[in-house]
C-alpha cells in the first residue's frame, strides 16, 4: 500500500509546484466540461420544463426515450461522435475530431438527456396547487412560466449537478473523440487512465484529488445558493 501513500505525497507536490502537464489536463477538463454543461443546460432546461409541464400526444414515449438516453454508454456516444466528425463522416469538414469542442459535443449529448429528464421530473413533481397560487396572484402566461421554473429550481439544480458529475468523470468520449493528446485534449480522466497504465500513481492521484475538489466546490456552491433561499 506504500505506493498509494507515496502517490498522495507526489500529488500534493505536483499540485503545489504548479506542474504544467497536470494543470494542462485540469484546464482542458474545466474548459470542455464548461462548454458541454453550458450547452446542455441552455437546451435541456427549457426542453425538460416543456416535457414536464405540458401534456401533449406522444409525451409518454418521448419521456421513455429521454429516460433511456440518460443511461447512454459513453463509449457508444464516443463512437457515434467519432463517426460523424471523422474525415469520412458528415461533419468531417469542420475539423473537430481530436479537439476540445469535439469532446464538448459528445459530452453535451451525454449530459442533455440527464438535464432534460431530471428537469422534467422536477417540474412534474412541482405541487399542482402552485399553479393556482401563481395564477390567483395575477400572473400572465410568461410570468406563470418563469415563476414555475423558479419554483422547480432545486430539482433542476440537482439535475444539473448530476449531469456535471457525469460529464466530469467520463472517459469514453474524451478518449475516443479527443484522442488523449498531451497539452491539447488530455483531460483529467484520460490522464488518470494513461498515468495508471504507466504506473505513475502520483499524477493519477493528483488528478483524482482535483476532480474531487471540483465536485466538492460545485456542491458547496449549490448548498450555499439553496441556503440563501
Amino acid at each position: 500500500m506504500n505506493f498509494l501513500l507515496e502517490g498522495f505525497f507526489q500529488a500534493f507536490n505536483l499540485l503545489l509546484s504548479g506542474n504544467p502537464e497536470t494543470y494542462s489536463a485540469i484546464w482542458a477538463t474545466v474548459k470542455v466540461s464548461s462548454y458541454s454543461i453550458g450547452c446542455s443546460l441552455l437546451m435541456g432546461i427549457p426542453l425538460g420544463f416543456c416535457l414536464g409541464y405540458f401534456d401533449f400526444r406522444g409525451k409518454k414515449p418521448l419521456r421513455t426515450i429521454v429516460d433511456t438516453m440518460m443511461a447512454l454508454p459513453t463509449v457508444f456516444i464516443g463512437l457515434l461522435v467519432y463517426a460523424f466528425l471523422t474525415h469520412r463522416g458528415p461533419l468531417g469538414n469542420f475539423g473537430l475530431l481530436f479537439t476540445l469542442p469535439g469532446i464538448a459535443i459528445g459530452q453535451t449529448i451525454l449530459a442533455l438527456p440527464i438535464v432534460i429528464g431530471l428537469s422534467a421530473t422536477a417540474v412534474e413533481s412541482m405541487d399542482q396547487k402552485l399553479r393556482v397560487t401563481i395564477m390567483s396572484m395575477g400572473a400572465n402566461r410568461r410570468q406563470l412560466f418563469l415563476s414555475s421554473l423558479w419554483e422547480s429550481r432545486h430539482g433542476i439544480l440537482a439535475g444539473a449537478i448530476a449531469a456535471y458529475g457525469r460529464v466530469m468523470t467520463e472517459v469514453g468520449i474524451s478518449m475516443m473523440v479527443g484522442g488523449n493528446i498531451k497539452w491539447h485534449t488530455r483531460t483529467i480522466t484520460t490522464a488518470i487512465a494513461l498515468e495508471t497504465n504507466k504506473g505513475q500513481f502520483g499524477m493519477g492521484v493528483a488528478l483524482g484529488l482535483v476532480l474531487l475538489a471540483i465536485a466538492f466546490g460545485v456542491n458547496v456552491s449549490v448548498s450555499f445558493l439553496r441556503r440563501r433561499d
Binding site: 396547487k129 397560487t133 390567483s136 415563476s147 419554483e151 433561499d229
Partner: protein, 338 residues
C-alpha cells in the same frame, strides 16, 4: 341597480366528460358577500376556480364588470384573487410570498409597507415573520400568510375556498376578521365557500346552495341522502338511530337525495296541526340570518339534521333553545328528489 360584478349564463364545466357544474344564471352584486354552501363534491371549488379565472369553463361565458373574461384576461387578472382550500406557498420567505403579487403588478414603491400592513391584518408581524422561510410556518400561519398575500393586492374580488377548514380556532377567527375588513375598508366583493354555515349566515348578503353542481335554493332546505329501504308495502324510508321511521315516497333510485320541506314545529307531545309525518327531535343549533333577521333551528332527528325556519309566532310561542325536544312535521307529497 349596479352592473353585476359577475354574471354567468348557461355555464357548464366537466372533468373527464362528467359534468360537475351546471349553472343557468348567476349574478353577483358588487361589494356583496356571497356564501357558497353544499356538500363535498357539489362544485363549490370548481365554481370559485372558474370565477377566479384559473380554469376556462367547458361551456358558457363569465362576465366580470360587464366584460367577457377568461384565464389571463388583462381586464380582470389584477382585480380578482382566489385563496384556494389548501394554498401553496412559493419556495420563498414570507415577505417574498406576500410581495409576489405586488411585484407582478409592477408596484415597486411601498412594497414593504403594504406587506407589513397585510401581515398585520392577519395577526402576523413583519418583524417576526417577514424573513421566515416558507417551510418554517405552521398550517395556520401558512394560511394566514396566503391570505395576507391576497389582501396586499387590495382586490376587487376575493374568493375564499374553505378558508378556515384546516386551521385552529384562533387562526380561523383572524382569517374571518381580515376577510371582512377587506369588504368594509375596500369594498371588496367576497365569495366564500365554507361548511361553517353559522358564520356564512351571519355575514353573507346572499347564500348560494350548490348540490350536484347545480344551484339549489338557499341552503335552508333539508337534504337527506340515500340509500333508501323498503319499510313495507309501498312504503319507503329509513330507520333512524332512535328507531323512528323517516318515511318518503318511492325514490327514483335507492341513492337519490330527498329534499324535505319542514312545514311546522310543535312542542313535543302536542298534537300536530294537521296531517303529515311527524318526527321527534332535539334542537342542536339556532342561527340568525343577518339579512332577513330570521331565526333558523337545526333539529336532530336521530342523527339527521333538519333545518327549520322559525316564524316570529313560533319563536314567541315555544321557548326554543338547544337541547329542547320538538316535533317536526312534513308532507310526503311535498318531498322532491334530486
Amino acid at each position: 341597480m349596479d352592473t353585476p360584478i359577475y354574471e354567468i349564463r348557461s355555464l357548464t364545466h366537466s372533468y373527464a366528460g362528467k359534468t360537475v357544474l351546471a349553472i343557468e344564471h348567476l349574478a353577483v352584486e358588487p361589494a356583496s358577500i356571497v356564501g357558497l354552501i353544499g356538500p363535498n363534491g357539489s362544485g363549490k371549488s370548481t365554481l370559485l376556480r372558474l370565477l377566479g379565472l384559473i380554469q376556462r369553463p367547458t361551456q358558457g361565458k363569465i362576465h366580470f364588470n360587464g366584460c367577457l373574461v377568461e384565464p389571463f384576461s388583462d381586464d380582470a387578472r389584477f382585480l380578482i384573487t382566489l385563496l384556494p382550500q389548501e394554498p401553496s406557498l412559493m419556495k420563498r420567505n414570507v415577505f417574498n410570498n406576500v410581495s409576489y403579487g405586488l411585484k407582478l403588478r409592477g408596484n415597486g414603491r411601498g412594497v414593504a409597507d403594504r406587506v407589513n400592513e397585510a401581515l398585520s391584518l392577519v395577526g402576523l408581524t413583519g418583524k417576526d415573520f417577514a424573513r421566515r422561510p416558507w417551510y418554517a410556518l405552521s398550517g395556520g400561519e401558512a394560511q394566514r400568510v396566503a391570505l395576507a398575500a391576497r389582501l396586499a393586492l387590495k382586490p376587487k374580488v376575493l374568493l375564499l375556498d374553505e378558508p378556515t377548514a384546516s386551521v385552529d380556532a384562533a387562526s380561523a377567527q383572524l382569517i374571518k376578521e381580515a376577510s371582512l375588513r377587506a369588504r368594509q375598508e375596500l369594498g371588496t366583493t367576497l365569495m366564500v365557500a365554507s361548511h361553517d354555515w353559522q358564520w356564512l349566515y351571519e355575514i353573507c348578503d346572499e347564500i348560494i346552495h350548490l348540490f350536484k353542481g347545480r344551484i339549489f335554493g338557499t341552503g335552508r332546505e333539508t337534504i337527506i341522502f340515500g340509500p333508501w329501504q323498503k319499510l313495507g308495502t309501498k312504503k319507503w324510508g329509513k330507520i333512524l338511530s332512535d328507531r323512528q321511521q323517516l318515511c318518503v315516497p318511492e325514490p327514483p333510485d335507492k341513492e337519490a337525495a330527498a329534499v324535505i320541506d319542514v312545514l311546522s314545529v310543535n312542542e313535543d307531545g302536542s298534537a300536530p296541526a294537521d296531517e303529515g309525518i311527524v318526527l321527534s327531535g332535539t334542537v342542536s343549533r339556532l342561527s340568525l340570518e343577518r339579512k332577513t333577521g330570521q331565526l333558523f333551528a337545526t333539529i336532530l332527528v336521530g342523527d339527521l339534521p333538519f333545518t327549520v325556519r322559525l316564524t316570529p309566532q313560533q319563536t314567541r310561542e315555544h321557548t326554543i333553545f338547544p337541547g329542547k325536544t320538538l316535533s317536526i312535521r312534513y308532507r310526503l307529497d311535498q318531498i322532491k328528489w334530486s
